[in-house]
């Protein structure tokens, strides 16, 4: 029973350096944690922001043009970019989870491929929307 496993230094602590440099999260894991992160961001602050924008822009003609101006500000644009990414990632990853729930693509290889597709597709969609808006 004396194997390489026995010689391994134990215990391993989940220290910050370990999380950052030693433990490699597989791609589906990245999709999962980013799904949570993007979901939380969409709940707060982005849903509140979207409601504020909707409220002011629908209130009056002046409000509408004020939001137009406001969205032209660099900081607002940066915020919108993060909002777009969070929405796109949450959407794409969500579709993947719905497929997984239906037992589609649960084998290791397709699961890895689809998680790469989700990450790339959501970034591409974000870029596409950003290009449209600028």
């Amino acid at each position: 029973m004396s194997s390489a496993a026995a010689k391994k230094q134990r215990p391993k602590y989940l220290s910050l350096p370990a999380i950052l440099f030693q433990i490699r999260l597989p791609l589906p894991g990245w999709v999962s944690i980013l799904h949570r992160l993007s979901g939380a961001l969409l709940v707060f602050p982005f849903a509140a922001w979207a409601l504020y924008l909707l409220d002011v822009s629908l209130r009056s003609e002046q409000g509408f043009s004020r939001i137009r101006e406001y969205m032209g500000m660099p900081l607002a644009k940066l915020g919108l970019l993060v909002f777009l990414w969070a929405g796109c990632h949450h959407f794409c990853a969500g579709i993947r989870y719905l497929a997984l729930d239906l037992n589609k693509g649960i084998a290791l290889r397709p699961a890895r491929i689809s998680s790469a597709v989700v990450i790339v597709a959501s970034l591409a969609l974000t870029a596409l929307f950003a290009a449209k808006l600028w």
Binding site: R36, G39, A40, L42, V43, F44, A47, A48, L51, L54, D55, S57, L58, R59, E61, F64, S65, G87, F91, G94, I95, L98, D101
Partner: protein
């Protein structure tokens, strides 16, 4: 013979299913909304306002907001249950989330029927 019926509260399955159903509702709404906005481009105040005074759009948007509240409640609760170990803090965060989501839903109603 002991006839024990061991059943849980079932909220696990119900929440799981509700999260999926609301996800599909929101996905359909988002795609339809983007298509509607794109068909009205370039957007003016009149066309923007017109979009949200349409009766069907109002109902669909409210349905979206309520779906979001339910969906987000399940999701945020999952996050808190996984990462927040302190009972009091977790309860406080969950209460805050409920208040926030209820606030969003009522704000949406205010915006739509003003």
């Amino acid at each position: 013979m002991v006839n024990r019926v061991i059943v849980g509260a079932h909220y696990g399955t119900r929440d799981w299913l509700a999260q999926r159903v609301t996800a599909v509702i929101m996905a359909v709404y988002v795609v339809a909304f983007l298509a509607l906005v794109a068909s009205r481009a370039p957007l003016t105040y009149e066309s923007w306002k017109g979009l949200f005074t349409h009766g069907g759009m109002r109902v669909a948007t409210l349905l979206f907001a309520l779906s979001l509240a339910w969906h987000a409640w399940v999701g945020m609760r999952d996050i808190f249950m996984d990462y927040v170990k302190h009972d009091g803090l977790r309860l406080a965060l969950q209460v805050l989330t409920v208040l926030l989501l209820a606030g969003y839903a009522s704000w949406t109603i205010q915006i739509l029927w003003r």
